[in-house]
Symmetry: C2
C-alpha cells in the first residue's frame, strides 16, 4: 500500500482536515499519478456534508484532477512516467455492459466514481483528488497537454465535460443561438465551449453585475432572466438552452424561448423539483426537455483535445489546501470566479 | 358560393344542429370534395363547447375527412374527378416560412385549421367536415386508396398522423420496446402503427378490461399503470413511450421505465399541467421528454401510404349525423371503440 496525504471529511458536520489514507499498490493496468491540482466542484460540498444521504466517511473529495505520471504498470501503453494526465468523475466501470460499450461509462450500473464509491464485493472505498497522489486504471486516465495553465485545466474534468457533452449530443452547430442558464463553474465553461463551437452564445443570469463578465467569457448577449419583457423579446429564437442551475426554478420561461424543435437540457438535479412544466410548451412547438450527466471517458478525451486546440481553460482562483473550508463557505455564497483549484504542492 | 349542408354548433351550450353554410366557389388551385365520412375527434367537443376559449360560432367541426373529388380547379394536377381524397387538421398555410418549407405546416404562424380558423384579413372562417362537401387548396388534399373500409380511413387524418409523426421523428426501430399510454382514439392507432413498424408494443392502461383488446390490436404486453409492482418490473426497458392521455397524470412513473437515452413523447395538452417531473429522471439516464403536434402534409401522405401498405385503418363505429350529440356524450365516458365516424350520406 502507498501512504497518501489527503484532506478528508471525517464527519458530515466537521471541517475537512489533514488525513492519511492508503492507496493500492499499482497493478499492471494502473497509473500512479502525482496530483498537481484538483478543482473543487459543488458536488464535493454536497457529498462531504452528506446532503444526498449516501456519503461514506472518512471521505476524500475531488474529481477534477490534473497530475503527472509517477509510474505506469507493465500493461500500460498509453502513458509513461512524466506525462501530464487528468482524472475526472470516474475511475472504473464494468467494461462489458451496453453503456460501457457505447462509451458512456457514467451510466454503467457498477461505475466507480472517483470518490465515495464502494466496491460491492471488496467493500473498498474510492478516495478522490484532495490528495498528493492517486492510483487509477489506465482506461480512466486522460491525456492532458502541457500548458502553463495546468491548474486551470483541472475543472475541465468535470465542469468541462458536463457542458461539452450535451452541446455535442444535441449537435449544436455554428451560428446557432445557444442559451446558458447560470454563470457559475459549469455555466462559464459552457459559454467558452459553445463559443468555440461558433454558436451565438447568450447568458441568462439574475445578477445584472455578471453582464460584463459574461461578455468577456464569450457571450454575445446577456439576458436578465427575471425581466419578463427582456425574456419575451427572445421568444422562439433559441436552438438550444443549457441549464446549469441546480436550484429549483421555472423551466417554462426558458422553453418558451426555444424555436420549434429546440432543445433545453438540464445538467443539475435540484433537491426540490422545478415547478411543473406546461406540456403545451413541448407539444405546440415540438420541443425537447432533456437531461445530461457528465460524459464518457472517450468524450472526455475529445473535450480535453478540443479545449487544448481552442485554448480553453477554466477561470480559476488557486488556493492552498488549508483554505478548503473557507473555499466551501465562499462557494455557498457564489463568491468565486469561477472555480477554486487546490495547488496540491501545499498539502 | 356553394350552399352546403352541415351540422353546426351555434352556441357552446346547445346541441349541434342541421345548418346550411356557403362554401367558396373553387378557385384554380382548389379541389371540391364530396365528403363521404368524417371522424369525430375529442378536439371537436372541446371546440364546439368553447372549452379552450377561442371558439367562433356558428362552428362546423370535423377534421378527419374522407371523400371523393367532385371538381378540380384548372391548376390542379394531382387530383381529378372521382378520386378518393382526405383532408386532415389543416387547409392552408403561408407556404413561405421555415416551418412550411420544412414541411411542418402545423407550426406555421398563419396556418388555417380545417375549422374554427379565421383569416386575419378577410375575416373568413373555416368550416370543417360535418358537411356534405368542402373546398380545399390542392396542397392540403391527400390521396386516399380506394378501400372497402373507407370510413375507417377517416381517423387516420388526425389520430393516425398524430401518432405516426412522433414514432418517425424519434426514429422508432424494429425490435424496440415502445409503450403507448392510453388506449383511446389516438392510442389504438399508435399500437397498430408501432406494430407495423415492427416494434415490441406495450400498452399502459388503468382499465384491466382493456387488456384483451390491446393484444388484439397488436400489443405484445399490457401493463396496468396503477400497479406499482408491475410497473417496476419494466424499469429501464423502454426505448420510446408515446403518451396519448390528455388528462393530468404522473409522468415520472413512465420516465423511470425508459432506458438510458430513451424518449417519452406527449401528444396531449391537458387543461391542468402534469405534476412536476423529477429532473433526476432526465439527467441520470440522459432521457428526453418531448412533445409532438399532428404532422405536416407531406408526412400525412406518407402515413396514409404506410397505412394502406400495412392495411391499417381505425377501429370505428359508424353513425348517422343525427347521432352526433349522443356520440359526444358517449365519448366523454370513453364509451367508443375507438372512433366514431359519421356516414355523411345521412346528412
Amino acid at each position: 500500500m502507498i501512504p497518501t496525504k489527503t484532506y478528508a471529511a471525517l464527519d458530515p458536520k466537521k471541517p475537512l482536515t489533514a488525513f492519511t489514507i492508503q492507496r493500492r499498490k499499482p497493478g499492471k493496468n494502473d497509473v500512479h499519478i502525482k496530483i498537481l491540482f484538483c478543482g473543487i466542484c459543488h458536488t464535493d460540498i454536497h457529498q462531504a456534508r452528506n446532503e444526498w444521504g449516501h456519503s461514506i466517511f472518512p471521505m476524500v473529495p475531488g474529481h477534477e484532477i490534473v497530475g503527472q505520471v509517477v509510474a505506469a504498470g507493465a500493461s500500460v501503453k498509453k502513458f509513461k512516467k512524466g506525462d501530464y494526465v487528468g482524472v475526472g468523475c470516474m475511475v472504473d466501470s464494468c467494461g462489458t455492459c451496453k453503456d460501457c460499450k457505447d462509451h458512456v461509462e457514467q451510466f454503467c450500473n457498477t461505475v466507480s466514481y472517483t470518490y465515495n464509491s464502494q466496491d460491492p464485493k471488496t467493500k473498498e472505498v474510492t478516495y478522490g483528488g484532495y490528495a498528493d497522489s492517486i492510483v487509477v486504471n489506465q482506461k480512466f486516465v486522460l491525456r492532458v497537454s502541457k500548458t502553463a495553465k495546468l491548474a486551470a485545466v483541472a475543472p475541465l474534468l468535470c465542469a468541462g465535460i458536463t457542458t461539452y457533452s450535451p452541446l455535442k449530443k444535441w449537435k449544436v452547430q455554428p451560428g446557432q443561438k445557444v442559451g446558458v442558464v447560470g454563470l457559475g463553474g459549469l455555466g462559464h465553461m459552457a459559454v467558452k465551449i459553445a463559443k468555440a463551437m461558433k454558436a451565438h452564445v447568450v447568458v441568462f443570469t439574475t445578477s445584472n453585475n455578471k453582464s460584463a463578465d459574461a461578455k468577456r467569457l464569450g457571450a454575445k448577449e446577456v439576458i436578465i432572466s427575471n425581466n419578463a419583457n427582456e425574456m419575451a423579446k427572445h421568444a422562439l429564437s433559441f436552438d438550444f438552452i443549457l441549464d446549469t442551475v441546480a436550484a429549483s426554478h421555472d423551466i417554462d420561461q426558458y422553453l418558451n424561448l426555444l424555436k420549434r424543435d429546440g432543445t433545453m437540457c438540464l445538467v443539475g438535479v435540484p433537491n426540490a423539483p422545478h415547478p411543473a412544466v406546461n406540456p403545451g410548451n413541448l407539444v405546440l412547438k415540438r420541443r425537447q426537455l432533456v437531461g445530461s450527466l457528465i460524459g464518457g471517458i472517450k468524450e472526455t478525451q475529445e473535450m480535453l483535445d478540443f479545449c487544448a486546440k481552442h485554448k480553453i481553460v477554466s477561470d480559476i482562483e488557486t488556493i492552498p489546501i488549508n483554505y478548503i473550508n473557507t473555499a466551501y463557505e465562499r462557494m455557498l455564497k457564489s463568491d468565486v470566479k469561477y472555480r477554486f483549484v487546490i495547488d496540491m504542492q501545499t498539502i
